[in-house]
């Protein structure tokens, strides 16, 4: 491995800086606690909820929140609390997979563009520009409509519209390191360009890409929920926050507020949590950009 010197010391310094940032910034600590709660719901949700999220109960339809049904029941008598908790897994999974996908493709394309330059740079730049020429949510709608109305295609569409962001960040970070000392050293010791890109450049820009990931997680969740709100991807009766808000939308004008409110709040909390973590991580990784 040809990394920049002093990797161990750097990690230690980052960790102590992280501790400093978190202790000085209770908001970030709170965001990590919220993340813990979300992950807990995503992993154990379906097993700990009091009711079956899919089971309807015709005797108890459209009941307001009570001790028995904390978030009330919907038009089919399903327990809203159970559905909100059980939906965490699907919502987070869509966001995580789409962000991982764009991290891999956008990150690598950006590194190639920044490190190799020339034609690679022009092609990646052109693809990114073309995607950016669309209003992003509208493009995502078009992609899902064309590829087919499935959850997988929501993941793909969300990844595609985030591609320019990742490719640009990776490109900038890779191009400033193109002639760095450790890259020269790796080149002198006979490493191939591809190997340098993957073993010297990639690990070095990873922290900044991680920040980008947590900053776009919230956007990915919002985007996926928006798509399912207009009836794309997730099919009823599958619990998912966006579609639950859509199902509750009709009841809001007749006063049944709990159907849309709780999944909407869950959505908001999740996005809020990832945005805070993104800001917190940026303070740790890249203190200069702190605002």
């Amino acid at each position: 491995m040809s990394r920049s010197p002093g990797t161990g010391a750097a990690i230690l310094a980052t960790l102590s800086h992280a501790r400093y940032v978190i202790s000085g910034n209770p908001v970030t600590a709170f965001a990590f606690m919220l993340l813990g709660l979300l992950l807990f719901c995503a992993v154990f949700g379906p097993w700990i909820v009091p009711f079956d999220p899919l089971a309807s109960d015709t005797a108890a339809t459209l009941k307001a929140p009570s001790l028995r049904h904390w978030f009330g029941t919907d038009a089919l008598g399903r327990d809203v609390f159970s559905r909100v908790v059980a939906a965490t897994r699907l919502d987070l999974a869509i966001a995580v997979f789409s962000v991982a996908l764009v991290f891999a493709f956008g990150g690598l394309a950006g590194i190639a563009a920044g490190f190799f330059g020339g034609w690679t740079d022009r092609i990646v730049g052109r693809i990114a520009d073309t995607i950016m020429a669309f209003p992003l949510f509208v493009l995502a709608m078009g992609i899902v409509a064309a590829l087919g109305n499935t959850v997988t295609n929501i993941v793909i569409a969300t990844a595609i519209i985030n591609f320019p962001l990742y490719a640009r960040v990776a490109r900038t970070e890779a191009s400033v390191r193109r002639e760095a000392g450790f890259v020269m050293a790796a080149r002198l010791s006979g490493n191939s360009e591809l190997r340098i890109a993957l073993t010297s450049i990639l690990p070095n820009i990873l922290p900044i890409m991680m920040v980008q990931m947590s900053l776009t997680m919230g956007y990915a969740i919002l985007n996926a929920a928006g798509l399912s709100f207009i009836g794309l991807g997730v099919r009823p009766p599958m619990p998912e926050w966006g579609i639950m808000v859509a199902e509750g939308a009709g009841s809001i004008i007749s006063g049944e507020w709990w159907l849309a409110l709780f999944p909407g709040l869950a959505l908001m909390l999740a996005v809020f949590c990832f945005n805070l973590i993104g800001d917190g991580l940026r303070d740790i990784v890249d203190p200069q950009r702190r605002t």
């Binding site: 073309t130 509208v138 590829l147 919002l222 929920a225 709100f229 849309a260 908001m268 809020f272």
Partner: protein, 337 residues
């Protein structure tokens, strides 16, 4: 000046080509066999072949692309299966509703966000600054369809001061004579106060929903850009020369801080045009967003593709306008080019 204008318009051509290529690709990757889809579920293999020939799907891709571009240049976006109308005339008929809503939301959020950002920067660390930060953080986390529903619940159901969220006008009211297609303007031109009030009250909630959504990025960038300008030497000099506080902030600092704000508008428009679709669905607004959503649910693809293409072209034009407005704001741009 004209030369610059033409030069700037020419730079949009690669983006336009990209948009047309992508929308062509989107028409070709329809799930399953496009010909079988258009022939209907009960079609025989021969009928499917016939449709394939008729649609030109049996020809090589470059040839198909050429005929696609030829159709586009004649304004032919295909037929909607649900409305039975050409997609282009459907979109033309519904565009004013969407444009009125989006512009209303944008103007509203500019009117709130820009002063908020300025005050937050001038009084850094004050209550207003903290309020600004809270709004910015909350604004980016709120799903726009959720904000809309909350507003409907509070102002329609509880307070009962808003009309039902069902379109641009009450079912019993008649639309003003069409001049611009914007009900607010048309009713003003027709001197019809009642229609103006009615359409304004319908527009208010969806407009506010969009404005809340656009507030965060505008306020954030105004604050940041004002802060950086306020720390510059020329502002210090202006202050030291005894200019009034108002003159220093508005004339010296704000004009210089405006450029990043205008740049952000491009991004804000990208978000707004997307959010518009969701808001139109919540408020049953008869714009092109809800047109596309209805078509999507009915698996009617031509309107969706027409919608995506129309929005992309609209977005390119908006970005062009934003870019050209730099020159009006910043004399340096005029001098350097």
């Amino acid at each position: 000046m004209l030369k610059i204008l033409i030069g700037r318009i020419l730079t949009t051509i690669p983006a336009l080509i990209g948009v047309v290529v992508v929308s062509f690709l989107l028409t070709r990757v329809l799930p399953g066999d496009t010909a079988a889809y258009f022939a209907g579920p009960a079609a025989t293999p021969q009928a499917i072949e016939e449709v394939r020939k008729k649609l030109g799907l049996d020809r090589p891709l470059p040839e198909q692309f050429a005929s696609y571009v030829r159709d586009l240049s004649h304004g032919n976006l295909g037929q909607s299966l649900t409305t039975g109308q050409p997609v282009l005339s459907d979109i033309k008929a519904r565009l004013p509703a969407s444009a009125e809503l989006t512009l209303f939301g944008l103007v509203l959020s500019l009117l709130i966000a820009v002063p908020l950002g300025i005050v937050a920067a001038v009084r850094q660390g004050s209550m207003i600054d903290h309020a600004c930060r809270a709004i910015v953080t909350a604004g980016v986390s709120l799903p726009v369809f959720f904000t809309g529903l909350l507003l409907v619940y509070v102002f329609y159901f509880i307070l009962q001061i808003s009309p039902a969220p069902l379109g641009r006008l009450d079912v019993f009211a008649s639309a003003p004579a069409e001049i611009t297609g914007f009900y607010l303007l048309d009713s003003l031109l027709a001197r019809d106060g009642a229609t103006f009030r009615a359409s304004f009250s319908q527009l208010l909630l969806p407009g506010v929903t969009l404005a809340i959504f656009a507030l965060a990025p505008i306020a954030r960038i105004t604050r940041a850009s004002m802060l950086s300008v306020l720390s510059m030497d020329f502002v210090r000099t202006a202050r030291a020369s005894g200019l009034s506080r108002r003159k220093v902030i508005m004339t010296y600092a704000f004009r210089n801080a405006l450029l990043p704000v205008v740049t952000t508008l491009g991004m804000v428009f990208s978000f707004l045009l997307g959010a518009n679709v969701l808001v139109e669905k919540v408020f049953a607004w008869p714009g092109i967003g809800s047109y596309a959503v209805e078509a999507l649910i009915a698996s009617d693809f031509a309107p969706v593709q027409g919608f995506v293409l129309a929005m992309a072209i609209l977005y390119i034009v908006l970005n062009l306008l934003i870019d050209l407005s730099y020159r009006l704001i910043d004399p340096r741009m005029r001098a350097s080019s």
